[in-house]
């Protein structure tokens, strides 16, 4: 029988090797799934992982999409990972993303049609503040009344969605839009547009912000007292209190930071790729980012890679649906497998396998 034995120290080799192994196992298991659906497994895997980047026909469209999709995922996941490391669970990034977008777009729409250099920076500040403020609701309720931040932040997503719908239909509706829901298109308002910085690269300010966030989070966690306190609190809350960490301060910081980053992601999306406030503006980035954060082991560099990988499976998955007529559910199952293998194999970093008789020690 197989037995798990705790390692004295977490294995560095396996920390690095499990993601690679998990992707390989996902390809095998996914291939079996696709074969059972009557599709060529090799072709399906190639379409998902290879064609979006290197196929001459598709790459010109898909490659920029990679950054467009990965940018918000990484930006949100970096913020979430700070809290997750400390055992503070912000599940409502989707709501903070919406409120950030509404706040930023609100500034732009209020100033329209003013052409000034400060419009976009103001929107950025408003977007970050909006997300931060939305995250402060669960934070303050938790520090004051010991409410559960998981429930409060999650339920506030649905509140945010209602506000989004109300805005798209009411206050922010385009007065020249012939009564259709949705705001003015910010892409057509130069002072407020978050345009591509390099043509056909998908690189916009949101992607830049994501890279900056990766570096900042890396420095924070490895070189700064606050990051050390975050890691300490997550590993051993009692030791953290002994070390002098203020638990309430940490809750405010972690929820605030993740809210602000999610708000920024929303702002960059609404002023860039999406272009306008619409009823179905949010596409689940805030939830997918939770997966990205864990996929990346809550490590900034890992999240960068995980965000890119996740974006790739989305784009490749869409491509496979379109090319091979694979059902959307099969693609979702495939993505689920990736998460399953990653988290399942994670046990190997702290445990080693032993083959032998079971015993009670």
């Amino acid at each position: 029988m197989i037995r798990l034995e705790k390692r004295p120290s977490p294995s560095r080799v396996w920390t690095a090797a499990t993601p690679v192994l998990a992707v390989a196992l996902t390809m095998v298991a996914g291939g079996v799934l696709f074969a059972m659906l009557g599709k060529d497994p090799v072709a399906a895997i190639r379409i998902i992982f290879w064609d979006p980047l290197f196929n001459e026909q598709f790459a010109s469209y898909s490659r920029p999409q990679l950054l467009v999709k990965a940018g918000p995922l990484i930006l949100i996941a970096i913020g979430l990972s700070l809290g997750f490391r400390a055992g503070i669970w912000n599940i409502g990034a989707e709501g903070q993303y919406i409120i950030g977008a509404l706040s930023g777009a609100g500034v732009a729409l209020a100033l329209y049609p003013l052409e000034a250099w400060f419009v976009f920076p103001l929107m950025v500040i408003a977007g970050g503040l909006g997300g931060w403020a939305w995250a402060m609701i669960p934070a303050i309720l938790k520090t004051r009344f010991r409410t559960n931040e998981i429930l409060v932040s999650l339920l506030l997503v649905y509140v945010a969605e209602q506000i989004l719908a109300a805005m798209a239909l009411g206050l922010m509706r385009n007065p020249e839009g012939g009564g259709f829901p949705g705001s003015r298109n910010l892409q057509q308002y130069p002072a407020a547009a978050n345009t591509e910085l390099i043509a056909n690269s998908g690189m916009h300010w949101g992607v830049v912000a994501a890279f900056v966030a990766v570096i900042a989070a890396y420095v924070l966690l490895n070189r700064h007292m606050l990051g050390f306190q975050i890691r300490l609190t997550g590993q051993s809350p009692r030791a953290a209190r002994f070390a002098g960490v203020n638990p309430n301060g940490l809750v405010l910081f972690c929820l605030g930071a993740s809210g602000a980053l999610a708000g920024l992601a929303g702002l960059f999306e609404v002023s860039g790729p999406a272009g306008q406030v619409s009823i179905d503006f949010n596409q689940g980035y805030g939830f997918t980012a939770i997966i990205v954060a864990f996929l990346g082991r809550l490590n900034p560099v890992g999240i960068l890679l995980a965000g890119l990988l996740m974006a790739l499976t989305y784009i490749g998955g869409e491509l496979a649906q379109f090319m091979l007529n694979l059902p959307a559910a099969a693609i979702q199952a495939f993505q689920g497998m990736l998460l399953f293998f990653l988290l399942g194999l994670d046990v190997l970093t702290n445990y080693r396998l032993r083959w032998g008789k079971r015993e009670i020690a």
Partner: protein, 506 residues
Amino acid sequence: MTALLTVEGLTKAYPGVVANDHVSFEIAEGEVHALLGENGAGKSTLVKMIYGLVQPDSGRMTLRAAPYAPPEPSAARRAGVAMVFQHFSLFDALSVAENIALGMETPPPMRRLAGQIREVSETYGLPLNPDRLVGDLSAGERQRVEIIRCLLQDPRVLIMDEPTSVLTPQEVDILFATLRKLAAEGTAILYISHKLEEIRTLCDRATVLRLGRVVESCNPREKTAAELAEMMVGAKLATPSRAGSAPGAPVLEVSGLSLPSPNPFGTSLRDISFTVRAGEILGIGGVAGNGQDELLDAISGEAPVAPDTVRLHGQAIGALGPSLRRRIAVLAAPEERLGHAAAPDMSLTENAMLTAAIRQGLATRGFLKWPAARAFAEKVIDTFDVRTPGPGNAARSLSGGNLQKFVIGREVLQRPEVLVVNQPTWGVDASAAAAIRQSLLDLAEAGTAVVVISQDLDELMEISDRFAALNEGRLSAPRPAKGLSLEEIGLMMGGAHGMEVAHVAE
């Protein structure tokens, strides 16, 4: 006397360590047999094999001349082997009788069980009211629940694992009277302990284990405690010593300190007052769970209290948190090594950062200086002889004794004005314990006010200048440690808990 239980050549290996290596001994009916050895000598593994919790790799056992190889504890219990564990498995929110019923395979109706409990408790002089909630019982009374649970099975062999670590001296006397009565009725008792004086009073024979092997079998009454200790350790032991200089001015003053417990079964501190002078060691004894953790939290700053109740050089510091107290050199080393004093999965370097960042200047404007933290961790490792490949290793990879040396050393090297330690040598081997005690003595010699909270009375008598005892969150008035008798200490610790119940039950 005929052998009741014989053990022959029992061997058990775990990855990387042979816990028991051809261990043999035998116990006769009515014998009180001691298993002596340091932590890690293999005592626990051996009794786990006898109790069926662990299966030996090789070797055999016989019980009443019949082969005995229990595959699980319930088989051992059916064969007449019972065990009282060091750590109790009781539910606070249930009554004594309910707890005992939970451990039985076919419990009788509650009323009959309560009657049986009363009967056994009176026969063996273990006062216990079956209707009381376990959460309200002292540690000594909880142990009686476990013992009575065993006695109800009418065992032939009773295994006791470190039974006196949670008892006051008076309660120890009660326990010993019970055990002698049981032995007189023919029950064999296997008694695990590292307290040598107790073994010399109670036991007929002793088997000494060292690194998994039997090194000696003797009659403990014919040996001195020092001889027994040397058998256990395999080397001469240095007794901690100090030059002994007069204490200086008062440094830490605690007056009227009260701290309500945050949970219903925790202990509240009630009106605690004491003073510690520079260069003095105040020993605080008491049975576990009488407010030790809470007292340490109140002095370390983890549990802020009213400002005036804790003073350093006359300054009110009660409201300061742990970081601010470290800044003014009030340091602490909590009992729980993994998870409180140190983060298990973090490296020793990171654990050095945990408490030393402020006093050792390991951070500038919030940015951490890892090379400096590593150097400090290395200094602790070198100075305190911590056995580890290096400061990059995780705290949990160290043995208990080595991690404890690291935890104490980390605070001692920060030159505290006040140092509070809780259970500084709990679960630590004898040579490491001696080193830790010596370092506390040296620290006091250098002028630090030291508070040592411990359940090991021998330790406290060895190093303290003055002694006080915690009992249900209250602290007795400190008295000079020199010349205190065991009797007096026991009374300061609250005497025998729950004795009045015996009369109520009649």
